[in-house]
């Protein structure tokens, strides 16, 4: 099982903010990608408006998901692959383990895949006495460090080269260096041996295509190609929503994905995989298994309010522009999906109450939607989640997050609708505030339960006269009568 730490959001966020090294790394990533991604959309022959078309393509695919998944499965099977539909993480893990056992697998080489993080696959394999080598360099680093991904596409961006150097010296027994090429070469050498030995390769799937019956993997390092070419068995995991109908749709989405993720026109390696090695082919796996995972996605699909988030292609562009992610980083989100997309997806997958801080923590500034290659309206869905938290929702089993808040607003609503009581309380407050500490004409501290407001700022006191009183007075002075 994957660990869910969404409850620690606030504490972890504070920790990240207090860590200057992390702050520098975050600023650097956001600085680099923010402008580059926006510029990359402008290099599209169709112009940045292609994002809107991509949105349509995604939504159409989601609306026809049943047909597309059926077509994909039939076509993969036609090409000799196996397709397994997994209801939840456990079924998917068990299936993968069973395949591994059948082939007496001892070593697995793995490409980066967020879905496998979501279901905690590595732990399950380790519990089954199977060694797992993450081969994406970033994933390899965090696997050595025993951490979870900090960023959807750059899992180790929070580690400085010194930290990586120390980690490699400690875990791999190589002399300390902070020179990235030397460190990368050390990992290249070690992982090359693993690629040669491994009996099973595991990958994710960036985007499947129903009509042709293939999955696509995208990488810059080449690790996924090695992991899906050399071992005897290839198991690919895909979230059930990651599918396009035709190659034409694929074209648009892939180009946008690469731009959104790393501001490249195309990533270095894009592999289209539709089945195992044919009998006359020298290399490639003998068996190809595609695991299509639900794990809570169906519930999202059934709710028109949140269905849109299934259009996400996990490019991480929204992380790179988010002012909140830019301060607190990925670990605070307590689940593999971080940033704005995590703030919507995680509550929907693990429970809205359980992950309430994630959607409450975002600022609703809208930068994520502008950066998103498929124009997903994340702010709208954040608001919808908050509304559920405010009022509760039996459908999603959401309990009112703060009954006190509701009561206060109800009192407030009664108060402002009754002129006499409203004025009376204003007068009382105007008298009462005189007992509060003041400086330079500002109130320094409010009493509980309002004290949070003045924790880091002062507030203006209530004016001696209300607006209406002043208005009346002015008109009287000018001799105008109501």
């Amino acid at each position: 099982m994957v660990e869910i730490n969404t409850e620690n959001y606030v504490a972890e966020a504070h920790k990240a903010i207090a860590n200057p090294v992390l702050q520098r790394a975050l600023a650097d990533v956001q600085d680099r990608f923010h402008k580059a991604t926006a510029a990359a959309y402008h290099t599209l022959p169709e112009g940045p408006a292609l994002r809107f078309k991509a949105h349509q393509i995604r939504m159409q695919a989601i609306a026809n998901l049943d047909i597309l998944l059926e077509t994909l499965a039939a076509n993969v099977r036609y090409n000799g692959g196996h397709v397994f539909f997994a209801e939840d993480g456990k079924t998917a893990r068990d299936y993968c383990l069973a395949v591994a056992r059948r082939h007496r697998v001892k070593l697995v080489v793995k490409g980066k895949s967020m879905v496998t993080e979501e279901i905690g696959l590595n732990q399950a394999l380790a519990d089954g006495w199977i060694e797992v080598a993450e081969t994406d360099l970033g994933e390899y680093i965090i696997q050595l460090a025993g951490e979870r991904p900090f960023h959807i596409i750059g899992p180790a961006i929070h580690k400085t080269r010194n930290e990586v150097g120390q980690l490699f010296a400690e875990k791999l027994g190589i002399p300390f260096t902070h020179d990235p090429p030397t460190l990368a070469q050390a990992a290249r050498k070690i992982l090359r041996a693993k690629f040669l030995q491994a009996d099973m390769g595991i990958s994710g799937c960036n985007l499947a295509c129903a009509e042709t019956g293939h999955i696509t993997t995208v990488s810059n390092e080449g690790n996924i190609r090695l992991a899906t070419t050399l071992p005897r068995v290839h198991v690919a995991f895909m979230g059930m929503e990651r599918i396009a109908a035709r190659l034409e749709d694929h074209d648009v989405l892939l180009r946008l994905l690469c731009r959104g993720a790393t501001a490249q026109k195309l990533a270095t390696y894009i592999s289209y995989i539709g089945g195992p090695r044919a009998s006359d082919q020298t290399d490639g796996p003998d068996e190809f298994h595609l695991i299509i995972l639900d794990n809570g996605r169906r519930r999202i699909l059934a709710d028109p309010e949140f269905r849109e988030i299934l259009g996400c292609i996990r490019c991480a562009a929204c992380l790179n522009v988010c002012p909140v992610y830019g301060q607190i980083g990925g670990h605070a989100y307590g689940f593999p999906y971080s940033g704005p997309v995590g703030a919507v997806v995680t509550p929907l997958l693990v429970g809205i109450n359980r992950a309430q801080h994630l959607c409450l923590g975002e600022t609703l500034c809208g930068a994520c939607q502008e950066a998103c290659p498929v124009d997903i309206d994340i702010p709208r869905m954040l608001l919808a989640l908050r509304a559920k938290l405010a009022d509760g929702d039996p459908l999603w089993k959401v309990k009112r997050a703060n009954p006190m808040e509701k009561a206060i607003f109800q009192i407030w609503s009664g108060l402002i609708r009754n002129r006499r009581i409203y004025e009376l309380s204003l007068r009382l407050a105007a008298v009462g505030q005189k007992c509060l500490p003041q400086r330079n004409g500002m109130l320094r501290r409010l009493p509980p339960p309002l004290h949070g407001w003045t924790r880091s700022r002062d507030i203006k006191p209530l004016a001696a006269e209300t607006f209406i009183q002043r208005w009346k007075k002015k008109r009287r002075v000018r001799g105008i009568h109501p």
């Binding site: 650097d28 990533v29 049943d66 047909i67 077509t71 076509n75 036609y78 090409n79 397709v83 397994f84 539909f85 680093i141 750059g154 580690k159 400085t160 080269r161 990586v164 902070h178 990235p180 090429p181 460190l183 990368a184 040669l196 129903a210 009509e211 042709t212 810059n220 390092e221 080449g222 190609r225 090695l226 070419t229 050399l230 035709r246 190659l247 074209d251 892939l254 180009r255 026109k265 195309l266 270095t268 390696y269 894009i270 592999s271 539709g274 089945g275 195992p276 044919a278 009998s279 006359d280 082919q281 020298t282 290399d283 490639g284 190809f288 299509i292 639900d294 169906r298 699909l301 059934a302």
Partner: protein
């Protein structure tokens, strides 16, 4: 199991579970009408336009660290490969060996002879070409191939197409065209003719569909797009080449003896 899964997805979509579903007409929207004109455009390209694509390919390749060299004919390419083998040293171990595709263009380079003088063996995937039923690979053959490919420091392939817009090589899995040749050796050399250059993904997809009897045969069991050299930014965000793939990629484009200038 899968039917149950699909049934639940259908329920989530709010569709009647037992209503007759029409077969998805996936081809019907935008793309379908456009393909013939794309194909015509590709077929009617004159030499001048092809040269334009080559220029574009080279321009796009430059920032990616991809080295593109036009050559007049296969002899010139064979000579270039000979020079490469002479000057480059293996990344792992001492002995030099080369792996190559069994492919008409690559075989016309006569690499075994070209490299014999340097005493460098050239390994081809075993089995006769073009007769799939005759060449089912035994486990031992495949094991031997694995060892050879790991020994080889240069891998020589052709490519199905080159995409000019992004300097992308398109390689499809076929008998004799082992995919490991383009990813395991430290240096990848791709040889293609200028006529194999096309503009972009859109043209590629149109061609794939036009060649296939059924859409599911368009990609078959595998195709790889290679755009540049294996790269990582995972250590301190510093770009490093290579990560796991080839450290150098050379593209030799055979332009033919007299590239004519077509009408602009």
């Amino acid at each position: 199991m899968s039917e149950e899964f699909i049934r639940k997805v259908r329920w989530a979509l709010g569709r009647p579970l037992h209503a007759r579903r029409c077969e998805p007409n996936l081809r019907s929207r935008q793309g379908a009408g456009k393909s013939p004109s794309i194909l015509e455009r590709i077929q009617n390209r004159c030499d001048g336009e092809r040269q334009g694509l080559l220029d574009k390919f080279r321009e796009a390749a430059h920032p990616l660290g991809l080295k593109v060299y036009p050559h007049r004919d296969t002899e010139a390419v064979a000579a270039a490969i000979g020079a490469l083998v002479r000057t480059k040293v293996p990344e792992w171990g001492q002995a030099k060996s080369v792996a190559a595709w069994r492919h008409p263009l690559i075989e016309s380079l006569r690499l075994t002879e070209a490299l014999a003088a340097q005493n460098v063996p050239v390994y081809f995937p075993e089995g006769p070409m073009g007769a799939p039923s005759a060449c089912r690979f035994a486990k031992v053959d495949r094991q031997r191939w694995r060892e050879r490919i790991f020994q080889s420091y240069i891998g020589i392939t052709s490519a199905d197409f080159g995409l000019a817009e992004t300097a992308t090589l398109v390689l499809r899995n076929r008998a004799g065209q082992a995919r490991s040749v383009a990813i395991v050796p430290a240096i990848h050399v791709a040889v293609l003719e200028v006529s194999q250059l096309i503009a972009d993904l859109q043209e590629l997809y149109a061609l794939l569909y036009s060649e296939a009897a059924h859409p599911r045969e368009a990609v078959t069991n595998g195709m790889t797009l290679i755009t540049g050299v294996s790269t990582t930014r995972d250590i301190g965000a510093v770009p490093v080449r290579p990560a796991h793939g080839p450290r150098e990629v050379y593209v030799y484009v055979i332009t033919g003896p007299h590239p004519k200038q077509g009408p602009s």
